[in-house]
């Protein structure tokens, strides 16, 4: 009985952490009136990492800071800023890590080359097999 009461009590409990005194920011759960701008903001938000629920995008996360980041993205897009400028602004502060889109910096070159190398490697194996069969 006490266990059930405890479980019910826990269901009612509000998480203590990360709940501030303020309601969500204006654009956190609101779409921009301009559909084209909203689409741009949405595409960018899907590629930005939530700083609290790391592994989620800010489009998916319900963390307050993610809401504030969506607010920031939508306000800047509405003000005419390009998505790449906003991404750059965040990368300047949090590093490449904040963006899910792999960078084109030299450190990421092996990543871009990997599919090509694997394809050549696989092709060589297949070619070798076919040749052996024929002979």
């Amino acid at each position: 009985m006490r266990a059930i009461a405890l479980a019910l009590g826990l269901m009612l409990a509000v998480p203590v952490f990360g709940q501030s005194n303020m309601p969500p920011s204006y654009w956190a759960y609101r779409q921009l009136p301009d559909a084209k701008q909203e689409a741009k903001a949405q595409a960018l938000m899907q590629e930005l990492r939530c700083l609290v629920c790391q592994g989620q995008s800010i489009a998916d996360s319900d963390a307050e800071l993610a809401g504030d980041m969506r607010d920031l993205v939508r306000r800047r897009i509405a003000a005419g800023e390009r998505p790449e400028q906003i991404r750059g602004w965040l990368i300047e502060r949090y590093g490449d890590w904040v963006s899910y889109r792999p960078s084109t910096a030299p450190i990421a070159w092996p990543l871009w080359a990997a599919p090509l190398i694997l394809l050549i490697f696989g092709g060589a194996i297949v070619a070798g097999r076919l040749k052996r069969k024929r002979s």
Binding site: S20, M22, S25, L51, Q54, E64, D68, L90, Y94, R132
Partner: protein, 182 residues
């Protein structure tokens, strides 16, 4: 069936095993040494971004970036009256203030009544407190939570970031760091 290019072929056959061991070692490494989830600001050793924050409670002035970098190194503390670890940090900030350390605060997503109650209960070590209701300045600083503390030198350059609450053991370190920046 005779093997043709014996050596090369055998090495080829070992490749999947080598790859498997490599992948397993990678798993083991991450299990033994989990990645550090701390988000660190890239603005350390760079100038504080420009901002203007309104006061959050009557009687304590608001905070602008111009208030930092007035020739004396200061602490910039991001806190919230709703933040539990900030309560634990409050006496440590008080101790720093008593040692002559200048501390400015940014109240993240907070209300006047919340901050007033927090300060009256846990003490007020702040010279200024700016209100950041939408975490705008927090994001501009490259911070990802509360509490966080930045050491800002006399020229307004961020010198160090403390993620999470400052503990009593950090006090001598911070005092020495500030003295070195003077």
């Amino acid at each position: 069936m005779a093997e043709e290019g014996g050596g090369v072929s055998r090495a080829f056959r070992l490749l999947p095993i080598v790859l498997l061991v490599w992948v397993l070692l990678a798993f083991a490494w991450r299990l033994i040494q989990p990645p550090d989830p701390t988000v660190r600001s890239q603005l350390v050793n760079r100038e504080v971004p420009q901002f203007v924050l309104q006061p959050v409670v009557a009687g304590i002035p608001g905070l602008t970036s111009a208030d930092l970098g007035t020739g004396e190194p200061r602490l910039l503390n991001l806190f919230g009256s709703w933040c539990i670890p900030c309560i634990g940090e409050a006496p440590v900030l008080e101790e720093l203030q008593q040692k002559g350390v200048k501390i400015d605060g940014i109240a993240i997503r907070d209300t006047a009544s919340g901050v007033t109650a927090f300060l009256s209960r846990h003490g007020n070590p702040y010279a200024r407190i700016g209100s950041d209701p939408n975490s705008n300045v927090q994001l501009a600083l490259g911070s990802a939570g509360v509490p966080e503390t930045f050491i800002v030198d006399g020229k307004g350059v961020i010198r160090r970031q403390y993620v999470g609450p400052i503990g009593p053991s950090d006090v001598p370190k911070i005092v020495a760091e500030l003295a070195a920046l003077r």
